[in-house]
Amino acid sequence: MRVCILGGGTAGWMTASALSKKLKNIIQSITLVESEAISTVGVGEATLPHIRLFNEGLGIDESSFMKKTEATFKLGIEFCDWGRVGDKYIHPFGDFGQTIDGVAFYQHLLKLTKHGDYGVLDDYAFGISAAKNNKFQLPKEGQTTLQQAFGYAYQFDAGLYAKFLRDFSETNGVRRVEGKVVDTLFNEKSGDVSSITLDDGQQISADLFIDCSGFRGVLIEQTLKSGYQDWSKWLPCNRAVAVPCERQKHLSPYTRATARQAGWQWRIPLQHRTGNGHVYWNEFISDDEATSVLLNNLDGPALGEPKQLFFKTGRRNHFWKNNVVAIGLSAGFLEPLESTSIHLIQEGITNLLELFPHENISALDTSEYNSRMSLQYERVRDFLLLHYVATKRDDSEMWRYFTNMTLPDSLQEKIAGWLHRGYIQRYEFGAFLPPSWVAVMLGQNLVPKNYDPRVDNSHFEQVKQQSQAMRADIAGAVNKAKTHADFLNVIGAASNTELLRAK
């Protein structure tokens, strides 16, 4: 089977590297078409811990990859001004505290906080405490279960990551072709794309096309008319402006997302610079104002001209249609509030590998792929929306819009269960597990009226002591941990690049 990947951004090269490694002797040829004249979006600079599995699956050495992509470790996302102006919390990768008498620790904390100062949820997560102190160590280095109960991801330069994977892919036999698609030929009878024609007249035929062409969806939409499910009524932000700036002195092992009047702003610290962007709803703020908000809230001087992005949240009706699979922004777009862009690329690739066609593409493969990806997108959508609706903010038109919103039933039920008794409606297949929901809901002051009654069955004095011991355990370990920057040095992941400075 011949494969053609259209687009060479993060999605394109991640797909190329995975297919070339995992299906090396099976795929007859992999051709990746990209044009240097088309810039890539590269919004996905922050990732989820799942990315480590992806890299490990390719046999990528962590330190070398981090060095080449200016990567930093990521222990979570700090959310500022979301629940109320002035609030902040970190959504970590991992759980909070340790289960007591079979009941999740946060339920005990709900009771404890009614009886005095037992700290906040953040104090019971090693990842959060380390992040706040700009410290880092690997989970396996923890001396206790609690010190090991966290995950980590990376923050990297998406452009460099794509370049890194390009080298990897080309070594594994992927052929890169420079060019822009000017025409697409498809089989009238089957509806399959048979070839694409490039601006230099080259025609590339393939049995399977993977559309990584970004928002345009050159094959999945422009050619095959997949159709788009518009989720703007739930996630109405539709533009972003991005600019890198000089890095601050301390290297934070976390991403920051700060709520604004008509959207939110990201800050992603890399080794050589800090990435920034302002996602907004143009209904309530002009492009110029949005740019001003961004530029006025940088850690340091901007390193270039702000770059504008336009999008509509939602997903294609079909992620896989005929012989075209859409991966990345061509498949759908959900704002990068929880760093899910690269994760959804990874999900697409993982499912494609498992369902990779044999001699012919079967409707059973496409339906299974579409069913799995639909579920992933919907579950991420609900989690993102939670951030906008779990808030007391009503200080702008955008926040008032969310106050009056009718939520998807799936999210409404989750919030109802939480508010009533701190109950988390779990699922097995989706990016965000219960601790993530707890982090955001409690972090944004969605405090349940009641706690799990089983908590009252535990010996209260012992619970108090255990809680104090947990906090002390974490605080002591964080104190001993290396700074994030030192850790990068020690493992040989520190880049040789000098810090970028504004001209």
Binding site: L23, L353, E368, Q425
Partner: protein, 474 residues
């Protein structure tokens, strides 16, 4: 009733579900919730529907309730089981061992069952629990030797529900639970709320939450709403036969003209259950008649049905036991925090329905394409079977009672062979894999044969446990 208020729960029934539920509640509920158990003198016959087999989770579940494996081994006729051997099952007379197993080993990211398709091998040959079950041998999976194939096996128990009920009952702190021996004769309710129940002696009992564990009669729940969805009617006959020595560490189910017959080895006796399909016109004496199916809602108003009160599933797998554990876990997670139980009820019923439907899928899959037992078209099952047949994909839904291994073993056992396998398997050298598989098959066969027969293992284990008990080591 609120976080601090005193409230009262009433459990009704003389079933395994009742004793397990009462014990679990007594351990988990705060003291502000008082617990009453109205226990009729006669045990409900529907406990027969457990088929005398638990799932591997029983070990941990029992332990949480304060019941250890040694106690079950010493005080009851409990034996170990690696699963169920199906004989002459379905139209094609399939025979296989539906064993319990931890996730299969993967090679280069590809799961074992794909290599079975590629190398035209039989999955059961590579599962120690299947081989040991078939050979009648048993040993506990080691926890300190993860290289041993036996460490991947899982085991459960063959048990007699009345004995387990008694053991659970003994564990209940009678100072915590007000056990009332008696039966409910009448029930007063308005709309979907039970006001009180009245006992034979005229005593009226009120409660904030009624927990109906009365078995298939659903005495309390049925008064509020009869939303039982019937699937088919069967007749079950039960008998016990003494035997010279304890049987193998697996139950057997044999397909018959009229349904099936199971043999469950207990200590020096076998429990035989025969199922007759009513639709086939077999009229049997000494049988209990059950209508299989489930309720749409297990929690109505202020009454929750646990176990067979809420669903009736034939015991060809441990599904009835698995669902009972899930019922109890779900109830514990959703113990009401106030008089307003809308949130708890809705979530309980959502999870309940998913669990029951997903358990039924497994059973339907065992019959699918084999013979007509009245199951209609089901999109979820179609997806599972077509995806498996197409390329060995084990399509899953959230928190199914049966895991991917169970499904892979069932499909393979029923002779379902995928047309294709995971393409990534092609990356692995064929000859080398074949040699590895041959070695693995031989190693597992040898290991299964070298393990002791279950009766010998149990004798030695019991002796060891008694000695330990004497010397206070337990």
């Amino acid at each position: 009733m609120s976080q601090q208020d005193t409230s009262q729960f009433l459990v009704f029934g003389n079933t395994l579900a009742a004793s397990m539920t009462v014990l679990a509640l007594s351990k988990a509920l705060p003291k502000s919730i008082k617990l009453m158990w109205v226990k009729p003198a006669t045990a409900c016959p529907s406990d027969l529907l457990y088929g005398g087999i638990s799932s591997p989770d029983a070990y941990q579940f029992n332990l949480q309730l304060g019941l250890s494996e040694p106690q079950l081994i010493l005080d009851t006729d409990t034996t170990f089981t690696f699963g169920t051997r199906f004989d002459r099952w379905g139209d094609n007379d399939q025979t296989w061992m539906q064993c319990f197993h931890l996730p299969f080993a993967a090679t280069s990211g590809v799961e074992l069952h794909h290599f079975m398709t590629r190398h035209k091998a039989s999955l059961g040959d590579f599962l120690i629990s299947a081989q040991a079950g078939l050979k009648g041998t048993f040993a506990h999976p080691p926890t300190d030797n993860l290289q041993s194939p036996l460490s991947r096996a899982e085991y459960a128990y063959h048990f007699e529900p009345s004995q387990w009920s008694a053991v659970f009952y003994d564990k209940i702190d009678k100072a915590r639970v007000n056990v009332i021996n008696g039966d409910i004769t009448t029930l007063k309710h308005s709309q979907d709320q039970i006001e009180y129940v009245q006992l034979e002696d005229g005593t009226k009992l009120k409660a904030d939450l009624f927990i109906d564990c009365s078995g298939t009669s659903s005495q309390l729940l049925v008064a509020l709403n009869n939303d039982f969805i019937k699937q088919r009617t069967v007749q079950l006959k039960s008998e016990t036969q003494p035997c010279a020595q304890t049987g193998p560490a697996c139950r057997s189910i044999t397909g018959t003209e009229s349904g099936w017959q199971s043999v469950t080895p207990l200590r020096e006796k076998n429990h035989l259950v025969s199922l007759y399909e009513s639709s086939l016109g077999y009229e049997q004496t000494d049988c209990q008649i059950f209508t299989l199916g489930h309720r749409k809602k297990a929690w109505q108003g202020n009454c929750v049905g646990i176990g067979h009160t809420a669903y009736v599933i034939e015991p060809i797998t441990p599904a009835p036991y698995i669902l009972l554990m899930k019922d109890i876990e779900r109830l514990l997670e959703l113990i009401p925090v106030s008089h307003e139980v809308h949130v708890e009820r809705q979530e309980y019923n959502r999870r309940f329905l998913n669990d029951v439907i997903h358990a039924e899928l497994f059973h339907h899959a065992a019959y699918a394409g084999q013979r007509e037992v009245g199951y209609g078209k089901c999109e979820k099952l179609d997806r599972k079977i077509t995806q498996y047949l197409h390329r060995g994909i084990l399509a899953s839904y959230d928190f199914e009672p049966f895991n991917e291994q169970d499904w892979a073993i069932l499909h393979a056992g029923l002779g379902r062979t995928p047309e294709r396998y995971d393409r990534m398997a092609e990356q692995v050298d064929f000859e080398q894999t074949q040699a590895n598989l041959d070695r693995m098959r031989a190693g597992i066969a040898h290991l299964a044969s070298s393990m002791p027969a279950q009766h010998i293992y149990l004798e030695k284990l019991s002796m060891y446990l008694r000695d330990s008990e004497k010397h206070g080591q337990q």
